[in-house]
Symmetry: C2
Subunit: 384 residues, 2 copies
């Protein structure tokens, strides 16, 4: 019998797995695990406990952590949910909320997933880590590995913004640059894992980064006083944030902590790398690899996301959609809205705001709806 | 009769002032105002309200804000208080806590003071702002002014780290570089204020930045489950953080929300600019201007802090002290402890950790005491 109060379930074939040790992906079909908590007793009375807590670990009862286990943490979470009263009319909205993930430790939303995954991997016995990255996940892994006293090998495209690479080195990450995109880095990372025994931390190659990302959705619910927004407009590369929010909103609705319906989830991509947008347009259940991925929003340069099928399910189930914006448009919006609101938007944040305007024009969202857009990382990471 | 439930009291001569409009300093003696709240009803039952809140505004009942007034906010506060289990033994401590202010919006503790001061100045009718800065206050003012739809003129030494200057420009700050230190910038800023009517936001030249900084102390108390640490080791340039914590701890002790005694407050400075350390050594009640201020920790390059007398009172009243560390030592500690713990320490953060080790060697602090050190800003702001 397992000593955990959760189990793993394959997102594709339904195979059930044991959390013991260092699980990666489903051994039957190679697809990502999801975590299920059938026996967690959560009730309305636990909200006071949540309010008393700090950071994303205030939601530890929603996360794969047993009583007495301590997380590897740098204080991630509790990021601002800001009303954009000056940007909203510019973009055509009555009101608009931005979840600003740039104030996480290491400057991006990646902190949540890697805090959770490093925590479980260290408890499972991992001695070293490896990750392929479009940039921000590498910064986060380098920092959380250091915090845990472990080493981290990081493979990044040579085109990754220089400030991001400097931050990876600052935290002591063992950085290797490759010609190519994150898919190429992913292949090299798996080889390194096989050669050295380093535990692979790539998106959805282990079950727990996505659990950390659930806290995005849980936090939004708390910050909106336990009411969910009508729609979320999210810049999706690997897509764990979108999938994590989908899972979090499901859990909250099932628990009865929130009422109403699942927020519509909209994936935003760059026109230079839009496999999810293309799959949504085809009404497909998986993404086709994007041939020549090119965008300044390096976090969106993910041509063949392993989480494609899960993202597409989340988008379809929620009644959402997907939209591509040009690099010119997302860059322009990042500068415009940053100056208007005092924000440090990344290109991905600019993409989310540009898409919010587009979705309004297309009639997919109404100006009076409650909409949350995302700045997934801080803009300074992209500036040389 | 004033419509506010607080009044101003001169920190030097005791003159009482009205908060109406845009107060600056005491008209009788030119020294800083302190804010007093004799009529605020706070009781133990308000803690639940505080736990339900977000960011530093969870403490709004400790701040100069009336019911119905809305703050100008970017989500500042709720920064991590991290146990440094790997750094503590390296520095000789049984345990050690770091308050990491680098995860604030705009990357430093300056966000707290400027969120509060911009809020009150906008409510008081200010149309534009001016500030002299060693760096981080300029970034924060640029962002909060933008958030409020106001312009900000910022005077900074030409030697300010380039990344900091780029951030000021990103937020639309109207940046002027001067040869000289922050004192020279301060003189130019006052001229600009007189010429244009821009409201001067320099440290302690208005009463409210220090009130925002009180939330440092309030947050530490909450994060330590309403127990105060034995000592705080704080890198002090202008010193509002130290003064703010001193005021906050006083309020909490008077309210009975915490028991025991005031934490000993230690000011940390660079050997290249140590007017407070020198004044403590002389047992003086004010600082002498430091002739040629020089340090890589640009936030500590404040040769004649207006808050000198208040800092010295806080240090003396609390039974604390002051310590100078060399630039070599603070830089070395910043790199060493960042890699050990996955932190992005600024030079000022390195100074705080270096000083914690020195205070232990000198016998001022015992290894078993509960000590909080400070990273006042993120390290990336200092890297080109």
């Amino acid at each position: 019998m397992t000593r955990y109060d959760w189990y793993l379930e394959c997102s594709a074939c339904g195979t059930r797995g044991d959390p013991e040790g260092l699980p990666t992906v489903c051994p039957s079909c190679g697809q990502p695990w999801l975590v299920r908590y059938p026996d967690r007793p959560l009730s309305l009375t636990d909200r006071a406990e949540i309010h008393r807590g700090h950071g994303m670990w205030r939601f530890r009862r929603f996360l794969p952590l047993m009583d007495g286990e301590e997380p590897v943490t740098l204080g991630e979470g509790d990021t601002p949910l800001l009303r954009l009263d000056r940007a909203a009319p510019t973009l055509g909205y009555d009101a608009l909320w931005l979840k600003d993930e740039g104030t996480n430790p290491t400057g991006s939303f990646k902190a949540r997933g890697l805090a959770m995954a490093v925590t479980r991997a260290v408890l499972g016995g991992a001695e070293s880590f490896v990750v392929p990255t479009a940039g921000n996940a590498g910064v986060a892994l380098a920092a959380y590995a250091a915090r845990a006293g472990r080493s981290a090998r990081i493979y990044a495209p040579a085109t990754t913004p220089r400030t991001i690479l400097n931050q990876i080195r600052w935290f002591g990450g063992d950085l290797e640059l490759l010609d190519g995109h994150i898919g190429d880095c992913g292949r090299r990372a798996l080889e390194f894992a096989q050669e050295t025994g380093a535990f692979p931390m790539a998106t959805l190659r282990e079950p727990y980064r996505i659990e950390g990302k659930k806290t995005l959705g849980l936090e939004i619910a708390r910050q909106m006083w336990w009411k969910l927004p009508d729609a979320v407009v999210y810049p999706a590369g690997g897509g764990t944030g979108l999938i994590g929010m989908w899972l979090a909103f499901q859990e909250l609705l099932e628990l009865g902590w929130v009422q109403g319906r699942m927020p519509r989830l909209y994936a935003v991509q760059s026109a230079g790398c839009a496999p999810v947008v293309e799959a949504v347009a085809r009404n497909a259940d998986h993404c086709e690899p994007w041939p020549e991925p090119r965008t300044v929003a390096s976090g969106l340069r993910v041509p063949a996301p392993l989480g494609g099928p899960l993202m597409l399910r989340g988008i379809r189930d929620s009644g959402g959609g997907a939209v591509a914006v040009s690099d010119e448009e997302l860059s322009r919006r990042a500068i415009e809205i940053s100056r208007l609101e005092g924000l440090d938007l990344s290109p991905e944040g600019g993409a989310s705001l540009a898409a919010a305007a587009r979705l309004l024009e297309a009639g997919a969202i109404k100006p009076s709806e409650h909409v949350v857009v995302f700045n997934t990382g801080a803009g300074w990471l992209y500036r040389d």
